[in-house]
């Protein structure tokens, strides 16, 4: 008898999960406990281990949405006869999956479409309040009514996509001034969070920097594996939706909502660059839940930032134009090989992602200046805090570190650029490991 592999329940309020990718091809052998597939729920992404050893057959296609507890594949013993699929895949439209059947999905039929359209649509319907009226404040409604703007044409930047008076005013401004690059198609939805396997005790929550993604933590992660690692993907970065970010406060709110959704009693925070600034903002409102604050070259402590490099990275459409700017991130330029730059460009191949980041840069770093100031917030923080910075940082001046209050620890690295977690991974890892 083959072993049924089921969609696990990894979130309290999860009803179904989407298969992101299989780590093992159909017909290949997997050992019990090895990573078998990645799933994504509306809150988190996670790796699922093989429940038994065997040969993988009848695997649900990537992108398929399966209710929890239902089969996604079967593992057969070596030499066991593989016949018909023991049962068809359950679809999210089945009554067991929830009270709202998806009209697009025929009963018992599997949505083989890798395009996440149905789920995205439902998410957006919720965010925009379509079907139950548009989510808008009374003030926004009055303004829209007075100005003759149809509410449906407005993009709400408030919580849960709520249209606020601000959005109507922005819309009206847009009628007379050029809007953001036409290529940027904003999306909605919660930020994506991924987790590592294993680790014990207080988790480490990591927030990456601007125009970067969670892979920037890879060199550091081996040093931190003793703790559960949780990575937040910033909007317009990695796998998170490409939200239209209005200002730093809105970005910080998105991060806080992602943090709250995790329902952590306690966490160590680790942030790099813009992620560092977001950690400071998060600490300002959620300090009681924090065990420590670890900031690598954080933004928000002074106006200077290398705007040319940021816009260069955002604009680059080819490896050749990206590589020189990537080199400005490090002190030892030899580290940025052609292969590295190619991979980096690959992760930025989505034009809408680049447009989202360019729009975000325009708001957060207008005219190459850090438009947000977190010094007062940092001043308020009493959580044990460490700031790590490379003294050859060409993106944000390391001397911003000197503006931190005296109770915070400073670690300054000679001959290291803006990415100490990459250039001085071992040393950074040792420092963090001794505290978290």
């Amino acid at each position: 008898m083959p072993v049924e592999v089921i969609m696990p329940k990894v979130d309290m309020d999860m009803a179904s999960g989407k298969i992101m990718c299989w780590h093992v091809a159909v017909g290949n052998r997997v050992e019990k406990g090895d990573p078998l597939f990645d799933i994504e729920t509306d809150k988190a992404a996670m790796e699922v281990e093989a429940p038994a050893s065997g040969i993988l057959h009848h695997a649900a296609p990537e992108g398929a949405e399966i209710p929890i507890g239902k089969a996604v594949a079967w593992l057969y013993a070596e030499g066991e006869d593989v016949g018909e699929q023991p049962s068809s895949f359950a679809s999210v439209g089945e009554p067991t999956a929830g009270p709202l059947p998806d009209p697009e999905a025929a009963p018992e039929a599997l949505s083989t479409d890798a395009d996440p359209e149905p789920e995205t649509e439902r998410e957006m319907a919720f965010a925009d309040g379509a079907g139950e009226g548009i989510r808008a404040t009374p003030a926004a409604r009055r303004l829209a009514r007075d100005e003759g703007v149809p509410l449906a044409s407005l993009h709400g930047t408030g919580p849960r996509g709520r249209v606020q008076a601000f959005d109507v005013r922005e819309y009206l401004k847009g009628l007379t001034t050029p809007s953001a690059p036409a290529t940027f198609r904003p999306e909605t939805g919660p930020l994506v969070v991924t987790r590592s396997k294993g680790g014990k005790g207080t988790p480490i929550l990591m927030i990456h920097g601007f125009a970067n993604d969670t892979t920037s933590w890879a060199p550091l992660e081996p040093s931190l594996r003793h703790r559960p690692l949780i990575r937040i993907h910033l909007p317009g970065h990695g796998r998170s939706p490409k939200l239209r970010i209005r200002d730093f406060a809105m970005l910080a709110r998105e991060v806080r909502q992602a943090f709250d959704a995790l329902q952590l009693d306690r966490a160590h925070l680790l942030g790099h660059s813009l992620g560092g600034a977001l950690c400071i903002a998060l600490a300002d409102t959620r300090e009681r839940q924090l065990a420590s604050l670890n900031l690598i070259a954080p933004a928000g402590l002074g106006p200077q930032i290398n705007g040319e490099a940021l816009s260069g990275i955002c604009k680059a459409t080819r490896t050749e134009s990206l590589k020189p700017w990537l080199r400005s991130l490090v002190a030892n330029e030899d580290l940025i090989t052609d292969a590295y730059a190619r991979l980096a460009m690959q992760s930025r191949s989505d034009a809408n992602l680049r447009a989202a980041q360019a729009a975000m840069a325009d708001v957060l770093f207008p005219d190459g200046v850090q438009a947000f100031d977190l010094r007062a917030a940092l001043e308020r923080i009493r959580t044990p805090t460490r700031i790590l910075w490379g003294k050859a940082d060409a993106i944000i001046p390391w001397k911003h570190a000197l503006r931190a209050p005296g109770r915070m620890a400073l670690h300054l690295f000679d001959g290291v650029g803006h990415m100490p977690q990459f250039e001085a991974a071992e040393e950074v890892g040792n420092i963090l490991r001794s505290h978290v």
Binding site: A139, R141, R142, P159, Q164, A249, R253
Partner: protein, 336 residues
């Protein structure tokens, strides 16, 4: 108007301002008398009546037996005959013992006798938490009495208003309930001399702002003011309204402020649910000011539990300055 009208302004405590108001009322009108437990030689549970008994004698500063129901009944009866009693409860919580006289008699008689009589009664209630007096001596029950047509309910937050509202209450032909926060008794402030009144039913704008309206009552006004000062650092300009009167509520002041700021926070010490903030919120939601709201209304009220004895818990169950700060930041920055 008092003949000895003194124009000068002195610094008095809230308790001294109340005593001065009672002194002026006793002096000016022989039908005014004070009643209450231990208000004579003892000077009152919180030393508010002080030595007034020495000046006016025990016929006009009258100790009543330890029966709130009996004392309140005598006061209501005295008021019906044309006297103007100012009745002091030792703790506002003990109003529970006198509810029959307050709610079914004082508030109703004028209506039930076709307006042929009135009850010119003033009741003073030391209220609120913060003194470590535990669950039966720390409540904020203004919303109970605010629910009764026929009563007026005021909550002065400053020495000046404590005096002005008491003199307005004495002049009022109907029963007026005054809730005095116990932690405010020692608070000092500028108080004009002589006779003046603070209008019942009129709120005061304590700080003008444009980003968020904070409507607070009693001691919460001071916490709101402190929060408003700190909010300047976040570039948030808060308007603070001291409601002063719970019934009848000053609709115009609150609504025009919300029309200006588009955001509302209600801060009050009474239990949050079905409390003063619920009334303020509903009043705004029902009015044309609704169209100006650009964020959900926030109520900061007392926790849904009796006031604990433990001082840390006692603080935790009522709104504090940082709660106001956080709420204002959240709704102005569009986080909720």
């Amino acid at each position: 108007m008092n003949a000895q009208n003194e124009p000068e302004i002195r610094e008095l405590s809230y308790a001294e301002a109340i005593r001065e108001a009672m002194d002026i009322a006793l002096e000016a009108d022989p039908s005014v008398l004070l009643m209450g437990e231990d208000i004579g030689v003892y000077g009152g549970a919180f030393q508010v009546t002080g030595d007034l008994v020495e000046k006016y004698g025990t016929d006009r500063v009258m100790d009543t037996p330890i029966s709130e129901l009996g004392g309140a009944g005598v006061a209501v009866g005295a008021a019906l005959t044309g006297l103007k009693p100012i009745f002091e409860f030792q703790f506002s919580d003990f109003a529970a013992l006198a509810m029959e006289q307050i709610v079914n008699q004082a508030a109703k008689v004028r209506f039930m006798l076709g307006g042929s009589v009135s009850v010119p009664l003033v009741m003073r209630f030391p209220a609120g938490s913060g003194t470590g007096a535990a669950a039966q001596h720390s409540q904020s029950i203004e919303a109970w009495l605010g629910h009764v047509p026929g009563l007026k309910v005021v909550q002065p937050s400053t020495p000046e208003d404590a005096k002005g509202l008491l003199l307005a209450a004495v002049a009022d032909p109907d029963p007026v309930m005054i809730f005095e926060h116990k932690l405010l008794y020692k608070m000092k402030g500028q108080v004009p001399g002589g006779h003046y009144t603070t209008p019942i039913g009129k709120a005061a704008i304590r700080r003008v702002g444009k980003d968020v309206t904070i409507v607070a009552t009693s001691i919460m006004v001071h916490k709101a003011m402190e929060a408003a000062e700190q909010l300047r650092a976040d570039d948030i300009d808060a308007e603070v309204i001291d409601l002063r009167t719970v019934r009848p509520m000053d609709r115009d002041t609150v609504l025009s402020s919300v029309r200006k700021t588009g955001r509302l926070i209600c801060v009050y010490e009474g239990v949050k649910t079905l409390g003063v903030g619920a009334e303020i919120s509903a009043m705004v939601a029902e009015s044309d000011a609704f169209d100006f709201l650009d964020a959900p209304i926030v109520r900061l009220g007392g926790a849904e539990c009796p006031i604990p004895y433990n001082p840390e818990l006692e603080k935790a169950v009522v709104p504090q300055m940082p709660d106001i700060l956080a709420a204002a930041r959240d709704i102005v920055k569009g986080r909720v």
